[in-house]
């Protein structure tokens, strides 16, 4: 309803018996005034009432628990349960080699992000350029995206076992066996590799959707001019897809930081030597396994801070790209 229109019920009040037209007119005027007041109040309240459910849900189920969690991070565990301990949890956190390893792994994930984006980008390009069998690949690439991390973890546990097929294959070409999940130098890469394998199908679909918006005549023109495929990719496809690439970067980053838990849990359990911890795994471990909820709250607060910074940076990137258009 457009705001500011007179309320319709006033019109019906004007229709009265002919003998009392004047009084009716006065009453009508009074009624109109009262109606307007009533309307104004409803009008003012309406937006608040309409947003109230959303605000209450956000405040009650998001902001309040968040504040509570931050609050708990300044209290103690065990014997000191309920006492204010200042920054003790935070100093314990940064003294804990497990937590610092987890934060380092977050850094590693950020560094590996370009790989995680380039793989689906490259494969989508090849499908778009109709390499032989592209229809088959389109389906096959998406297939792992429908599997649960637990199943994928179990499959790769078997494949990457010390006496598993991956090492048999390496042995057949004369390379020594690699303890994929037992060597702290390879374990994190193995898990991230499996995560990329398992999730790149979704990014691939986004890329293919982006390709649908590309103007094919540009590519045809480049080809007619004799551009090689790498040059077409570099100078025509990448600039045309810049927005899609940014979107994939953001969603892949979020995926890597928030949904590796299942794989870690099944494949390494944070090991070997604590080399595959991520903050969310650490939080779960401290809260549930070690019974230290306050320390876990502190770790959650730090993770929240990190995510906030990463999120802000990504928003800034997205906004800038929007302005460029």
């Amino acid at each position: 309803m457009p705001i500011g229109n007179p309320p319709p019920q006033v019109a019906s009040e004007v229709l009265g018996p002919a003998g009392s037209t004047a009084r009716a007119g006065v009453r009508a005027a009074r009624g109109r005034r009262r109606g307007n007041q009533r309307f104004h109040r409803a009008d003012r309240l309406a937006p608040y009432i309409l947003v109230a459910p959303a605000v209450l849900i956000i405040a009650g189920l998001r902001l309040y628990p968040l504040a509570l969690g931050v609050n708990f991070s300044f209290t103690g565990d065990g014997d000191r349960n309920g006492q204010a301990v200042g920054l003790d949890n935070y100093s314990a956190l940064f003294d804990d080699p497990l937590f610092t390893a987890a934060m380092r792994n977050v850094g590693l994930l950020v560094l590996l992000l370009p790989v995680a984006v380039a793989i689906p980008g490259l494969l989508a390009t090849l499908i778009y350029l109709r390499v032989p069998g592209h229809r088959v690949y389109r389906g096959v690439y998406f297939f792992p995206a429908v599997l649960s991390p637990v199943i994928i973890g179990a499959i790769f546990n078997l494949l990457l076992a010390f006496d598993g097929p991956a090492n048999s294959l390496l042995g057949a070409v004369g390379l020594g066996p690699v303890d994929w999940l037992g060597d702290p130098d390879t374990a994190m890469y193995a898990v991230v590799g499996v995560h990329i394998w398992a999730t790149f199908g979704m990014a691939l679909v986004v890329f293919l959707a982006g390709f649908a918006t590309l103007d094919p005549s540009l590519i045809d023109a480049a080809r007619v001019d004799g551009a090689s495929i790498p040059k077409v990719v570099r100078h025509v496809i990448v600039p045309g897809l810049s927005q899609t690439i940014q979107f994939v970067v953001v969603t892949t980053m979020i995926g890597m930081l928030t949904s590796m838990f299942g794989l870690l849990y099944v494949m390494t359990g944070g090991g070997p030597e604590g080399s595959t911890y991520l903050p969310e795994y650490y939080i779960w471990f401290q809260q549930g396994q070690m019974g230290r909820p306050a320390l876990a709250s502190a770790a959650s607060t730090v993770l929240f801070g990190v995510m906030l910074v990463v999120g802000m940076l990504q928003l800034a990137v997205l906004r800038r790209s929007g302005r460029e258009d």
Binding site: L63, Y64, A67, L68, V70, N71, F72, F74, T75, D77, G78, N81, G82, Q83, A84, V85, G86, L98, L160, A161, F162, D163, P177, D179, W180, L181, G182, D183, P184, T268, G269, G271, P272, E273, G274, W284, Q287, G288, Q289, M290, G291, P293, A294, A296, S297
Partner: protein, 421 residues
């Protein structure tokens, strides 16, 4: 600008109250007068059905009007769920625990049972694992221990006498060499992916390394991490790996159940297993035959050691601190540890029950060998450690195998963690 400031204030204001309240909830009580809720990870098993039935029947005789509700939780999430319940200060009235650290870390949430179970003290074994600061917090259902199992068929194939396993470490190494040469099987099945391998190694072989006095002092909480005996345990852990006694890829082999699968399939001659539930005589017997499952004392590494069977209370039921009627809940715990119930558990679930009055002589040579050792047995070394120290030990044991920490370095860290706990 003003609005933004207002929002920021609204968001930040709660933080001004920082450090109030507590992450784990203070005590409160839950309702439900005539229903007792039990949490465990056993009652869903088909094998434990007869046990639960027997316990329920025993309890119903004393309290016909009280209903008992068993909620089986998945084991790998059990302590997470329990932790949440403890923080909320409400949940089950009676709950199942593993003995040792898992229980000791949570005694705040439990009722001391000393007065309620005084009559059971004689009949049941394994109380130490459920005792903290002089109080008993749960009653043992099964006994859990770490016997050193061996595969008699592999001994025979290597031309060794399967009834006369090695008594000393040198003989043990010689036997292993003979077995590996004759059959290709590894000496030990070892899985340390979860960091449990070192715990079993310590408890399984430790009795052959530490002298009786040092052993008892360790259990009593007086632990010298720099003593030659303790150092020898960790040196042996590294030596066993370097000498090729273990299967390949120890740090990526899960104990549950890849390690035990190696022993089951005859690819390894020895394994430090369990006494109850999984990785035990019953499971091994199903694969390699009951007659081929041998149990041997830890080979003697240091001359002053006198090997004993390491065992503790395995699992036991405790009473939640927030329950309405602790006496009623304690009665249920007593029913869950009654002789009739435990007999059913032993017979059907393949566990060494905590009740010493049960006759186990008819259950095969391995069981008989274990039960015969119970009277002289002592608590296992690793069970005496806190969950935190165990977690650190698991991580350090992996580093020891990959060579990224020295034995002395690892012991220093463990001493610090154990001292802080």
């Amino acid at each position: 600008m003003k609005r933004r400031a207002l929002w920021s204030t609204a968001l930040i204001a709660p933080l001004a109250l920082y450090g109030c309240g507590s992450a784990a909830a203070p005590e409160s009580s839950s309702g439900g007068g005539d229903t007792l809720v039990v949490w465990d990870w056993k009652s869903g098993d088909e094998a434990a059905k007869s046990y639960i039935e027997a316990a329920k029947a025993d309890f119903a005789e004393q309290h016909p009007d009280v209903e008992v509700e068993f909620t089986a939780q998945p084991f790998d999430q059990y302590y997470n769920l329990l932790g949440t319940a403890i923080q909320a200060g409400e949940g089950p009235d009676v709950m199942l625990f593993n003995g040792g650290g898992q229980l000791r870390d949570r005694t705040d949430a439990l009722v001391p049972l000393d007065d309620f179970v005084a009559d059971d003290m004689e009949r049941l074994a394994g109380w130490e694992a459920f005792t903290a600061d002089g109080h008993v917090y749960a009653a043992p259902v099964t006994l859990q221990g770490h016997p050193l199992y061996y595969n008699k068929a592999l001994y025979e194939a290597a031309g060794l006498d399967p009834e006369a396993p090695a008594a000393t470490w040198e003989e043990f190494l010689a036997d292993c060499a003979a077995i590996t040469e004759a059959t290709g099987a590894d000496c030990f099945a070892m899985g340390n992916k979860e960091g449990y391998g070192i715990q079993f190694f310590m408890s399984g072989l430790g009795p052959g390394i530490l002298g009786p006095e040092e052993y008892d002092a360790w259990i009593a909480g007086d632990r010298d991490w720099t003593s030659p005996g303790v150092k020898r345990i960790f040196e042996l852990w590294v030596e066993a790996e370097q000498a090729g006694l273990n299967n390949d890829g120890v740090n990526s082999t899960a104990m549950f159940n890849d390690e035990f699968a190696l022993f089951d399939s005859g690819e390894a001659a020895h394994v430090v297993g369990l006494m109850s539930d999984v990785g035990h005589w019953k499971e091994f017997g199903e694969f390699i035959g009951d007659e081929n499952v041998g149990v041997m004392p830890a080979p003697v590494v240091s001359p002053e050691a006198a090997p004993v069977l390491p065992y503790d209370g395995g699992i036991g039921y405790g009473v939640a601190e927030w329950t309405d009627d602790p006496e009623l809940a304690a009665d249920l715990v007593r029913s869950l540890t009654s002789t009739s119930a435990l007999e059913a558990f032993y017979a059907d679930a393949g566990a060494i029950a905590a009740d010493t009055t049960i006759d186990a002589s008819g259950a095969g040579p391995a069981t008989a060998a274990i039960v015969a050792e119970l009277p002289t047995g002592k608590p296992a070394l690793h069970v005496a450690l806190s969950a935190e120290t165990l977690e650190l030990m698991g991580r350090l044991s992996q580093q020891l195998l990959s060579g990224s920490v020295t034995v002395d370095g690892a012991l220093a860290q463990l001493a610090e963690s154990d001292g802080a706990a």
